[in-house]
Symmetry: C3
Subunit: 309 residues, 3 copies
Amino acid sequence: MAQWVMLMCFLLLNLEMLESTTIMLGNYPSVSYPKSCKELLHLYGCLPDGLYFLSTSSGTSYLTFCDMTTDGGGWTLVASIHENNMYGKCTVGDRWSSQQGNNENVPEGDGNWSNKVTFGTVEAASSDDFKNPGYYEIIAEDMSVWHVPNGANVDNWKPSSIFRYHTQKNFLTQYGGNLYNLYKAYPVRYNAGVCHTNTGPSIPIVYDFGNDESLSTLYGPNSKREYEPGYITFRAFNNEKAALALCSGLKPKGCNIEHFCIGGGGFFAEGSGRQCGDFAGFDWNGYGTHSQWSASKEMTESVVMLFYR
Amino acid sequence: MAQWVMLMCFLLLNLEMLESTTIMLGNYPSVSYPKSCKELLHLYGCLPDGLYFLSTSSGTSYLTFCDMTTDGGGWTLVASIHENNMYGKCTVGDRWSSQQGNNENVPEGDGNWSNKVTFGTVEAASSDDFKNPGYYEIIAEDMSVWHVPNGANVDNWKPSSIFRYHTQKNFLTQYGGNLYNLYKAYPVRYNAGVCHTNTGPSIPIVYDFGNDESLSTLYGPNSKREYEPGYITFRAFNNEKAALALCSGLKPKGCNIEHFCIGGGGFFAEGSGRQCGDFAGFDWNGYGTHSQWSASKEMTESVVMLFYR
Amino acid sequence: MAQWVMLMCFLLLNLEMLESTTIMLGNYPSVSYPKSCKELLHLYGCLPDGLYFLSTSSGTSYLTFCDMTTDGGGWTLVASIHENNMYGKCTVGDRWSSQQGNNENVPEGDGNWSNKVTFGTVEAASSDDFKNPGYYEIIAEDMSVWHVPNGANVDNWKPSSIFRYHTQKNFLTQYGGNLYNLYKAYPVRYNAGVCHTNTGPSIPIVYDFGNDESLSTLYGPNSKREYEPGYITFRAFNNEKAALALCSGLKPKGCNIEHFCIGGGGFFAEGSGRQCGDFAGFDWNGYGTHSQWSASKEMTESVVMLFYR
């Protein structure tokens, strides 16, 4: 039966789809595109990975990437976290932490984890921060995460990715259906909580590329004793009460989480702000050294892409 | 008669409009949407407040908010001034003053009051600076201003606003029909004039929410002796020749205008640049203290939305 | 024969075109606009200069300027380099060099010469940096460059420009058809080469406005002995191994190229970073003085527009 569905898909693709990976439905302006890649996939049965137009409830259309194959497909790219300058400590381009310098008076930093500000384009999502209206508008159940080398072309995102996984138990439903709502409940704000006590949800993951061991090749060797692999964790605090937004692939056990969690508020007390930035303290023992607390070069130079389904 | 028109409106809404607040007219690409909310309202007779698509003369369409009810409606949101970091003195995000630091060599700062640069989205207009092509393209007669709490959702802008008013004597007609042209004639540039002598137009306002007394709950107590309520004033200079772009709700009498006027050029001599920023010296005696010269917390944390009609 | 073609054009324009300079072809969403101004011109035979919609391969449409008359027309505006603050040394707005401060650890700076990040709008292309998807997507043969006074309106770009020229031997074909590909092969990166040895291509130009002598009125008098006029040069290094992206109107002979080449990487060793910025060392002997190494005021305050054909 699965076999037969695959065949039908193949025929459909041959007849209608292969000439373009951009599908357009309905007639603009009579409202237009589906709201998510999942909805789009349901309409067509099966579709290739690629760029598609989606619409917001207000009728704005935007182009994004749909992963139409992993675990049944229907994953909408809603954001990418790109470290443009590991040496810049909360400078221009640190939209997922702060562009205001390390500053105790700006505890939420830029605040983009829980507002409706959007930026970037899908074509440049591996070279710059990206956030589209789907981030706050789509009501989803699960998430998928890709770590893709900086500057990779769209067609190469999946084949070149160094780590990929997804959740599968509809966890988002209990947190408002998306990260916008989740982070409203778990603010990414300095001093809004402390390590351990105020950690947000940790959700088990299924690996699509990589495994428990991958993490030790990506995060620094010292970090290994501070986390448990196999999870995605939202909003956690380090020893100095700095808020980190996302711990990819793991659940923190210790409190030196700035070496393997990303995004954050606007203040990092340790090291005079050396940890302030989208990839926080990934370079604590040197840029890309993969020594002590430092992440590997390939991790430091990969963008983190967030998908909803 | 007014009664009867209201009824007709109600029927129209029931039949056609209530399923969506986004109206689309004509067939894209055959030029498309109206140029302003006023034009749109004329086409339909009456419409609810909400998000609508408009078109520029070059055929670009953009989404913005229309106030379709205040004083007959037809008000187009063209800009919002958002103070993203009161502690950042002409840093990233200070688009309505300067993102170049306090600098005498950059007397106009970013220059956005009188150029065609656009930024932001209407959905995020209470969380970030916003400026759409209507700002420089629509030819209007009057203005309306809303002070809306930071981060409020579109549907909540009007109900949650802390201060709202409009002008009613077609003053824009004599200044080129919009702020772009007005500020070409009254440049927001450091040292382009002095206090009193070179103040731009002060236009009487009609309050839609609030009154003369509201101002004293919003601006600092010391400021009260420096202004006359009941006006909107464009381009004024303080004691140190810093240019401020907009004084909302008042006409300056004294010269310490940086405590109740917003936007500006790129240089503020007093206090080593502590007044450089979108909300200038609103925090002179502490952030949100409403003591001496400091504005209230609710004013400091509200975005200023500008409408044309 | 040329005469007759001109006449036919005139008639066409009278009948169809003059009511709008925005042409729309086909029916959105059935894919839509031509991919370049050249393609558009081929469809119509002749068209006036102005703003037109183009489409990317993924179906996104964007508005840009087409020069439809110079040397047969068909030139697509793909980028503009705007110096927003000559006193800001790799600060906000220096997108064609670096917004990260002068920093040896960020050798490519913002990297926008060879990535797919886009920014700005055509309406504001003389007041802000501009880069559209055509920059990396159009496959072209030649380039044209305009130096246009800051803030000029679209209709006034050509008449007010201070220098204009184009290439004519299809040089882009051997460099991948556009600057995105050219700069992949010739990275704009500090220390990726040295003066003379690693200079990228220098292509002869034909002047459309100005001549060999114009350069001496635009660049500083000292610069004259350091270049040969009549070329456009891509990627060159100065004495201190700083990478410059584009030398407009000339081929460098000496190594003090930061006074007449623009754009660049993220590090300029000389003068503690005083040369870091979109217009590098144009102000070395004072802003706009046109003395010693300094460029003229009119050059310093003009945007550099890049066209493909």
